[in-house]
Symmetry: C2
Subunit: 311 residues, 2 copies
């Protein structure tokens, strides 16, 4: 249980028109977790579009916060559009963008150690490019191959044909092409002093109604080998909250995090000392979790579109 | 610190002829860790061959115990031969063999759940075949490919074109061709009830004077996703000791484990309640570790060939 978690029972606002109005009036900014709140998989929840419209019409800033590192903000906007949700790139905050900002604006890297070795897909690459951060690895086909006997010797010797001396950061995100060579290289860069970062450490990734390996599973071998945790940039890491605040310059007291998972979304808002947290029951956490769990939101709803009843 | 670890300072036997004779007389069986004891990398230590000959000439049973799962016993014998060490397949005990015995003789699998899904290389496959254990995965090229959108749907649905309903065991060893699909399949088999086994859980693998991902790194994503540890069959797991005893039918009081690593080799012997443990200083652990660490051998030597001074 964290220090910040609320020990008061959360307020149930579904059908409570006065309560909803009072709650909404407290905030200027709403941060949204997406899957499990706005949609599930490829299924948009009824009323999602109207609810976002209501908030925008009332002058609220809407921010979509996602740990998905495989997509850039532009990719993610297309995904929202595909589901019928109007949005702008500026409203989207992803763990790949958060990581890029952290590297370019917060980490103070020596002049000759500015390159990032990436384990991950194109979303990370696009966001690193948008911040002018040089990188290697990622989707480069040269890394999508088996390890060879020559690799062991070259890696051990720090041969510059395989070990780039300018790498000062290892950034690990979800990589559908993970392999032995990539893990070996990441290990050696970190042993040589590179900073160990992860876009996020969700162990699993929901797909097709079940779970698959998530970004955390890419970091897991390195954590075991190094006996060291990465700095994680996705929810519930406060590095992500700091990045969001840095960009939107909002008053934390006037901001509310909306999510379906107590342990990530709600924790993220509570530890970030936001004025409010709002749970919805259309995803992972149950009423039980919200009402008597270790991490409790300030309020909860059966579903996001219950906010429409404030009208 | 384990209950079994010796709190008495170990006896230093280098150059102590009477002490060496007394020590050797206590044992009929010597279990040897290999790398760091008999050789280092590709370098055979001087006197190794003569020392093994001395033991054999005095009627001692010699057993080579290795956590290397990528080689079968036959492969490993070839490796010993290549280094100039005479041996027989019967003297070799590897984690792949130990795993195969555990599956075929100890696990009581239902009739329709006898297949093993393997993450690993040919050594495991050869040993499973030698015990007539059916398996899928392993070095099959069908598993050395990228994950596709169709895979997610089929895996989620338990489609028999990709999920074999007869799989009752997932066995994870060192796999130089690990990938996203293999981890996803292992996860789903275990979620469907398969037993989670690991040949060994060494996080790293020594090569070319440095470290690379070991078998434990292949289990790490699964451990994180499942929040569950595998049953590990390599040192220091006592499942391996039980298998060795099952095969050689020795008296544990008359057996001695020889190794360079306090935390694996010496612990393996102590927890197995062998009559003796002998540390050597030609590998990982230092004199400091042996003399005042948490896990202490009964005796130690500068190098294995110091045993020749008993003559």
């Amino acid at each position: 249980m964290t220090q910040e978690s609320s020990q008061v029972a959360p307020r149930y606002l579904t059908g409570d028109k006065a309560g909803l109005q009072e709650f909404l009036a407290k905030f200027d900014v709403f941060l949204f977790d997406c899957d499990g709140v706005l949609w599930s998989g490829d299924h948009l929840f009824p009323g999602t579009v109207e609810t976002l419209e209501l908030l925008r019409n009332n002058g609220k800033q809407v921010v979509f916060v996602t740990n998905n590192s495989t997509k850039s903000r532009a990719d993610y906007r297309k995904k929202l559009e595909g589901l019928g949700i109007p949005s702008t790139v500026e409203e989207i905050f992803s763990s790949s963008y958060s990581s890029s900002i952290y590297i370019s604006r917060i980490l103070q890297l020596p002049e000759n150690k500015r390159k990032v070795y990436v384990i991950g897909e194109t979303g990370i690459e696009q966001e690193l490019r948008s911040e002018n951060v040089p990188f290697i690895g990622g989707t480069d086909p040269a890394y999508r191959r088996d390890v060879t006997p020559a690799d062991y010797k070259k890696i051990a010797a720090g041969d510059e044909s395989i070990i780039d001396p300018e790498v000062g950061v290892v950034l690990v995100g979800l990589d559908f092409h993970m392999n032995y060579l990539k893990i070996a290289l990441a290990y050696h860069y970190i042993k040589r002093g590179a900073v160990f970062l992860a876009t996020n450490i969700d162990s699993t990734l929901p797909n097709s109604g079940t779970l698959f390996p998530g970004a955390g599973s890419m970091s897991a071998p390195l954590i075991m080998m190094l006996n060291k945790e990465p700095v994680a940039l996705g929810k519930p890491s406060q590095a992500m909250m700091d990045s969001i605040e840095g960009k939107f310059k909002f008053d934390r007291n006037r901001a509310c995090m909306v999510g379906d998972r107590a342990n990530t979304d709600i924790r993220f808002g509570l530890e970030g000392k936001l004025g409010g947290t709002l749970g919805v029951l259309t995803g992972v956490s149950s009423k039980e979790d919200f009402v008597s769990g270790d991490v409790r939101p300030h309020a909860y709803l059966d579903k996001l579109s219950d906010l429409l009843d404030s009208e």
